[in-house]
Amino acid sequence: MLFNSAIFILLLVLTFIVYYIPFLKKLQVQILILSSLIFYAYSQPSLLLLLIVSALINIAVSYLIVNGNPKMRRFYATTGVIINLAVLVFFKYSPLFAKTFLNTDAGFGQFLLMLPLPIGISFYTFEGLSLLIDVYSNKHKDILTIEKSLSKHFYKTLFFISFFPHLIAGPILKAYEFYPQIGEKKFKNINWSYVFEKLVQGYFLKMVIADNLTNFTFWMEYPYFKTIASFDLILIVFGYSIQIFSDFAGYSLIALGIAKLFGYDLIDNFNFPYISSSFSEFWRRWHISLSTFLKEYLYIPLGGNRRGRVRTYTNLIITMGLGGLWHGAAWSYAIWGLYHGLALAIERFFLNNFKLPQKNTFTKILMGIVVFLVVTISWVFFKLPVENVIEYFKSIYANQHLAHNGTLIVFILLYSTPVVIYHFLYLANQNPMIANITQKYKFIAYGCMLFMIAVNSGPSGSFIYFQF
C-alpha cells in the first residue's frame, strides 16, 4: 500500500478516527496493530504470516531472555539472532545464491530463484535483532523494560515491529527508543504543525520530485543508455542522486508525520546529507537509522576503532560491505557498500597520517563537492547490475558526438532545483538573521509545495526502498 494511494488515505483516516475515540483509548495499541496488519497484507497477504511468525519469535525470545532461566539467557539470545538472520538470508539472498552457484532452470535452484521477497523483511528483521541484542545486553535497562505479563509484552512487541509508518521502509526503530513511548495518547496533544510540515515536505519530495525524475532517470538502464549523449548520461546520474534522496527522504518524512499523528516519535532518517563535507559526515546524515544500527550492532562489536588502524579500516570496509548487501540480493549492492567502506577507510587514513589544514568555508565547499561527486558516482552501482556499470561509463566516453536531449536536460535540472535549494536553505539558516526570515515566511514555501503536489505530481510509483 503506497503512502500516496487513495486506499492508504482511507485506512489512515479510519484508523485515526477510531484511535482517538475516548472509550477505545485502552485499545489504542491494538487498533494500530490491526491497521498495520491490514496495511501489510494489502499488497502481500500470504506473506503476512511470515511477518507474524518473525514477530512471535522475537516476542518469545525477548520474553525468555528476561523472564526465563537466567542460565539460558545467552542460548536464547544467540538462537533468536540466528533464527532472525536465517529467515532474512533464506528469503532475501537465496535467489542470489541460486543465480551464482546453482542451475536455475530446474530443481532446487529454480525453487530458490522463485522465492518471493517479503516486503520490508530487512527492516523488521533488523528491528527484531535490535530488540534481542538490547534486551540481552541490558545496556538500556533503565528505558527498555520487558513486561512480566506475556500478553502486555506480546502487544508492545508486535506493535513495535508492525507499526505501519515504519514497517516497510523504515526508519529502522530500536526497541529502547520506541518502548518508552508506548502508552495512551490524546488528541489534544497532537503537534499539528510538525505533522503538517513533515507530510507536506515528504509528499512534495516523493510526488513532485522523485515521481517526476524517475521518468528521466530510467534512461540509465540498459540498453537505453547506449543511445544517450555523454553529457546527458552524466546529468542522469546527478538526477538519480536527487531522485533517490527525494524518494527515500520523502518516505521517511511522511512516516515521521504519520507516526506523530498517533503520538509517536520516529528518528529523523535524513539530515541534509548532500551538504556533507566528509564521508563520515555523509553517513551521519544519510539513512541515519541504518547507519546507527550498523555502527551499534556491527562496527562496534567488530572492534570499531579500538584495535589499531589496520583493523579499523578493515572494520569500516566490512561494515559498509555488509550494509550494502543489506540493500538487496545483488553483488552490485555489495560493491556499492565496499566502495563507501573504502571511501571511509581512505578518509580515516588521511586523518590519521596527515595534518590537514583547518576547515574553512572554502575547504568545506571543496570537500562538499568531492563528497557529493563520489557519492553520486556510487549510485550507478546502486542502480545498475554490475555488468552494466562498466558499459555505462564506457558510453559516457563513447557517446560524446551524439545529440543532446534538451527535454531531458531541462527537466532534470528543473526538478532537481528544489532539492538543491532545500540543502542551501539549511546552510543559510545557520545564520540567525536568515533563520528568522525563513521561519517567518516558511508558510509561503509550504503553500507552494502544496500547490505543486496538487498540480504537478508525477505518476505514482513505488518507493525505491520498498524492494529492500
Binding site: 517526476n212 543511445t227 557517446n399 558526438h401 545529440a403 509550504y446 507552494c448 500547490f451 496538487a454 504537478n456
Partner: protein
C-alpha cells in the same frame, strides 16, 4: 502557519485555474513518455467529438506524429501495449469508425497501473472538474512550452536533430533484437490472441460499424522474416481472417536501434500508410 500555508495554496490554485481558463490553447506540455501517454489518452477521452479513426500500438507506431495522418488519432503508446489503447477507446461511449492495430508487439500485456489510473473515481472526478489538475496542464510542462515556443506559436527550431548511433552500439542493439526475434514465446502470443479477440468483441458489441485494420510497423529489414515476426504475422492472419492486414512496404528500413524507425523513415512509411487509406491497398 498551517492556515497561512493553506491560504497561499488556495490563492495559487485559484490564480492558476484562472490562467488556464484565460489561455485555452493546447499546450505542448509533454515532459516525458509516460505523461505523454496520459495526455494523449486524456485528450482522446475528454474530446468533444470522438475521432473518426484511431491507431493503437506501442512505441513503434508511437513515433507517428498525432496530426500526420488526417482523421486518425494516434493512441499508440511508447512503453505500453496496444491493449492500453483499447482500454482508452473503451472509456468513450462511442468508438471510432476505424481502428488501426499495430501487430508487431500486440502480445505485450496491458500496464495495470495505467489502467487503474483511469478506473479511479477520484482521479476521474478531479480531471473532469479541475483543469489545473490535468497532467497536460502541469506548470512545469507549460513552462517548457513557453520557453521552447516561438512568439508565433510554432515549436522552437532548437528541435533535436537525430544523429546516428555508433556502428558498434547499433550492431549490439540489433543483435539483442535478433536474439529476441529468433526465440519467440509462442504461448504468450497465443494467449494474447484470446485477449485481442475479447477486446475487439467488446468494442464491436457497442459499435457495430467500427472497422478494424491490422498494420505492421517496419523494423530493421534483417528482423522482418525472423521467427517472431513470422509467427506474429501468421497468428494474426489465421485468427482474424476477416480483418485486413496492411503489409509491410516494399522498402528496406534500417531503423535507429533495430526496431524504432528514424524520423526520415517514419515519413516514408507515412506515405505508404496514407496510400493505403486512400486506395485500400
Amino acid at each position: 502557519m498551517i492556515k497561512k500555508g493553506l491560504f497561499v495554496f488556495a490563492l495559487l490554485f485559484a490564480a492558476y485555474s484562472i490562467f488556464l481558463v484565460l489561455n485555452k490553447q493546447q499546450w505542448r506540455s509533454v515532459q516525458y513518455q509516460y505523461q505523454g501517454n496520459i495526455i494523449k489518452s486524456d485528450r482522446y477521452i475528454y474530446a468533444d467529438v470522438t475521432p473518426k479513426a484511431a491507431m493503437i500500438g506501442t512505441s513503434l507506431s508511437g513515433l507517428i506524429e498525432n496530426d500526420s495522418i488526417p482523421g486518425v488519432y494516434n493512441l499508440a503508446m511508447p512503453g505500453m501495449s496496444m491493449f492500453d489503447g483499447f482500454n482508452i477507446i473503451s472509456k468513450r461511449k462511442e468508438a471510432p469508425s476505424k481502428i488501426f492495430i499495430e501487430i508487431n508487439y500486440f502480445f505485450k500485456g496491458q500496464n495495470n497501473d495505467f489502467a487503474h489510473a483511469y478506473d479511479s473515481p477520484i482521479s476521474i472526478f478531479l480531471n473532469n472538474n479541475f483543469r489545473a489538475m490535468r497532467p497536460e496542464n502541469q506548470p512545469m510542462g507549460i513552462l517548457r512550452h513557453i520557453i521552447t515556443s516561438k512568439p508565433d506559436g510554432k515549436k522552437n527550431a532548437a528541435a533535436i536533430e537525430e544523429k546516428e548511433l555508433p556502428a558498434t552500439v547499433f550492431n549490439e542493439l540489433l543483435q539483442n533484437e535478433k536474439k529476441k526475434y529468433n526465440h519467440p514465446d509462442t504461448n504468450v502470443i497465443k494467449n494474447a490472441i484470446i485477449n485481442l479477440r475479447a477486446a475487439i468483441k467488446t468494442i464491436q458489441e457497442t459499435n457495430r460499424n467500427t472497422k478494424f485494420y491490422f498494420f505492421e510497423m517496419p523494423v530493421n529489414s534483417s528482423l522482418e522474416n525472423l521467427p517472431l515476426a513470422i509467427f506474429t504475422r501468421e497468428s494474426i492472419k489465421k485468427n482474424f481472417p476477416s480483418i485486413p492486414l496492411m503489409h509491410l512496404p516494399p522498402t528496406s528500413f534500417k531503423s535507429r536501434d533495430g526496431i524504432h524507425l528514424e524520423k526520415k523513415e517514419v515519413s516514408i512509411y507515412l506515405k505508404y500508410f496514407r496510400e493505403f487509406l486512400e486506395t485500400g491497398k
